[in-house]
Structure formats: structure tokens, C-alpha cells
């Protein structure tokens, strides 16, 4: 089962993009486009909550398109982590939760990090790359 991650986005609670990493997709986006896409996703996430026929909707968790899947994880504080991957990729939720843990450890506990600002923490980058690599190897190795 293919498990390639194409890109990862982190958006803050107001919808601004604070982290974008591309892991080798043909459709790499420049900064402006990634900002627009992130804000658009934030709004779509909110509208999908309004459309729910029952109460208690927390927004889109998985979007399935023809050529990719988009998994989104929203923390309790409203920070959204979403990842664009190949269709049918399993275990993205656990990866996203793990990335959230890395975020809390290496970004939030960093005393020089300002809330809601773009993430520029080296340790976060290193650990994130390791996590994604491990994920990729684990699935492709099977």
C-alpha cells in the first residue's frame, strides 16, 4: 500500500499558514499559493461544520480526491495539521497526532517562538523529517 506524503501544512487558529513542507510532489506551490490554499482550507473547514445535519461537527477530517487524499487533524486549540498524501494511505491520523506532539514539544515549548507566527524551529524540522521518513520506510518496506 502506497504511503507517500506529498506535503504537510500547519495553520494557526486564525487560518494563517505557519508551516508548509513539500515532500516531493510535482505540484509544488510557491509561498503565495500555499498561503492562499491554507486560508481557503481554513474557511472550508469552518463551513463544513455549518452544513452538518447533526450538531457537534468538528470539521472535515478526510477529503478524498482523484489523485490525493487530504487528512486533517484539528487540535483542541484550533490549530490544524493537514497532510496531502496518496489515495488510500493508512494511519495518517496517528502520524498527524505524532506531529502534533512534536509541535508541542519543539515549537510551543521553545521560549523564542511567538504564538501564531511562522515556525522557524530547527529541532522541529529535524524531528519532523525523521518522523516522515520513518513513516515512509515503514510502509514502503512492507
Amino acid at each position: 500500500m502506497a504511503a507517500a506524503i506529498y506535503s504537510l501544512y500547519i495553520i494557526n487558529k486564525s487560518g494563517g499558514l505557519i508551516y508548509y513542507k513539500d515532500y516531493g510532489s510535482a505540484g509544488r506551490m510557491d509561498t503565495n499559493d500555499s498561503l492562499r490554499v491554507a486560508s481557503l482550507w481554513h474557511s472550508m473547514h469552518a463551513i463544513s461544520q455549518q452544513l452538518s445535519p447533526v450538531s457537534g461537527c468538528l470539521g472535515i477530517e478526510l477529503l478524498q480526491a482523484d489523485t490525493f487524499d487530504l487528512h486533517c487533524y484539528q487540535s483542541l486549540t484550533g490549530t490544524k495539521f493537514f497532510v496531502v498524501c496518496e489515495p488510500g494511505t493508512q494511519h495518517m491520523e496517528s502520524l498527524l497526532k505524532y506531529i502534533y506532539e512534536l509541535y508541542t514539544d519543539y515549537v510551543l515549548k521553545n521560549p523564542f517562538y511567538e504564538m501564531e507566527m511562522p515556525i522557524r524551529c530547527e529541532l522541529f524540522d529535524i524531528n519532523l523529517t525523521q518522523a516522515v521518513q520513518k513513516d515512509r520506510v515503514a510502509f514502503l518496506g512492507r
Binding site: 505540484g27 482550507w41 474557511s43 455549518q50 452544513l51 445535519p53 489523485t67
Partner: protein, 249 residues
């Protein structure tokens, strides 16, 4: 089978009915329908020939005995979007949702992103104003399509965000899931959008969407009294659709 079906429909619908249809060039429609080709070409031809008409219809039915195994709610939205370039996008909405009780609601209206049919089979109360609901849904789907076309990781050359896409152009999504519902979406080459809102643990509904589109072609498009762009008031279509929905629920 197609030719006999359209002749049957012609017979059943050409009789005077209680609902009044606005005057339209029925002759052209009849000629197109009697060619009885259940292909997209026939649908497009009819769309381009006939003018659009506006209706607003709410019909509420309620079922007394809900089927016990009902797990899914189905929303089907059909709307009509009039573009200057004659590219009409139809959105048919049939919405149903629920677990224990069954509520059937039929709502049709038109305009940009006009809903042609809205039916519910089971919906726990939590409704915005119906019109607002449909507009919101159309807006969400339009934007999501634009987003997926832009985000497509396999194509290098993409247009800008927000540029209206032709049906079939660019990558399109087929479903999204939240913790409370799952929405499945299909757009036909003629621009008709079919949407189903179901329980989140429903599987892939693309085949159901295709089947519903076929029902639409058979019962609505081939109805000589139906004008494309108008809200759908074909009783046979509603009945067959309900039967099908109950069958898969």
C-alpha cells in the same frame, strides 16, 4: 429499453397534471427526448436548447414507520448554474440523514448554483434556513473543487485559485468526511452535481451516485414536460429514488 421507457413516460406525463409547468418549447424537448439516447450528448443538447425557469417548491412528507436498519442519511442536491458561456451546471440535492425517523423533504430552487431537487430521508433537527443551506453547500463544493484542482500533487501546471473549472477539468474530489457526516459528490460531464450526505462510516458511494445519475437521465431528462434548469417535479423520479435509497439504507 430506453425507447420504450421514454414512450411510457411520454404517455404518463403528457396527461394534464395538477402542477402547472411554465410555457416552454416542449416540442423541441420532446424531439430531443424521443431520440432516446441515454447519453450525455442528449442531456447537453436539451440544456442548450431550452431556457431556464425558476421554481421554489417545498414538499414535506413524513414516514410513519422507519426502517430499523437505516444507517445512512442521503443528501442529493441538484442545482442549476447559468454561465454566460452556456455551460450550465446543475446541482441536484436530495438530503436525508438520520438514524431512527424518516423525513422526506423536497426542495428545489434555482439561480446561480440553483438546487433542482432536495430530498431528505432522515434528518435530525439542525437546519439552517433551507435556501441558505443550499447556497452554503454549493459554495463549499465549488471552493473545494477549486482547492483540489490547485492542490493536485501530480500535475505541475495549474491555473489560479478561483478560476471556474469545466466539469472534468482538473482534479476533483469525490467525498469528504467529518466526525458527524460524510458527503459524497459526483459531477457529470454536463455539469449536474449529485451530492449525498450520509453517516460518517458509510463506504464509497460513487456507484450509488452513478446510479442516481442514471435515474435522473431516465426519469427526468427523458420526461418531455421537464425543462432543463427547472426544479424537478417528476413523481416517478421521486418514487424510484426513494425506493433505491431505502434499498441501500
Amino acid at each position: 429499453m430506453p425507447s420504450s421507457l421514454s414512450s411510457i413516460l411520454l404517455h404518463s406525463f403528457i396527461l394534464p397534471s395538477s402542477t402547472s409547468f411554465p410555457s416552454s418549447p416542449v416540442a423541441t424537448a420532446t424531439a430531443a427526448l424521443l431520440s432516446s439516447s441515454p447519453s450525455f450528448a442528449a442531456v447537453v443538447e436539451i440544456e442548450l436548447v431550452l431556457p431556464d425557469l425558476a421554481f421554489l417548491l417545498h414538499v414535506v412528507d413524513s414516514c410513519s414507520s422507519p426502517p430499523p436498519s437505516l444507517t445512512g442519511l442521503v443528501v442529493l442536491v441538484l442545482a442549476n448554474l447559468l454561465h454566460h458561456s452556456c455551460n450550465r451546471i446543475r446541482l441536484l440535492a436530495i438530503q436525508g440523514f438520520g438514524s431512527t425517523s424518516l423525513l422526506i423533504k423536497n426542495a428545489i430552487f434555482r439561480g446561480n448554483g440553483v438546487c433542482l431537487l432536495y430530498r431528505e430521508w432522515n434528518r435530525p433537527l439542525r437546519t439552517l434556513n433551507a435556501q441558505q443551506d443550499h447556497k452554503l453547500m454549493f459554495g463549499l463544493l465549488f471552493s473545494l473543487k477549486s482547492l483540489t484542482a490547485k492542490m493536485d500533487p501530480t500535475s505541475a501546471e495549474k491555473g489560479n485559485l478561483g478560476v471556474p473549472q469545466l466539469p472534468g477539468q482538473g482534479c476533483s474530489f469525490h467525498s469528504f468526511r467529518t466526525n458527524t457526516y460524510k458527503l459524497s459528490f459526483m459531477e457529470s460531464p454536463s455539469g449536474i452535481k449529485i451530492i449525498l450526505v450520509t453517516h460518517p462510516r458509510t463506504g464509497d458511494l460513487r456507484d450509488s451516485l452513478k446510479y442516481i445519475y442514471n435515474l435522473y437521465v431516465e426519469y427526468v431528462v427523458k420526461n418531455p414536460l421537464y425543462t432543463p434548469g427547472a426544479p424537478i417535479r417528476c413523481q416517478l423520479f421521486n418514487t424510484t429514488l426513494d425506493q433505491y435509497m431505502r434499498g441501500i439504507a
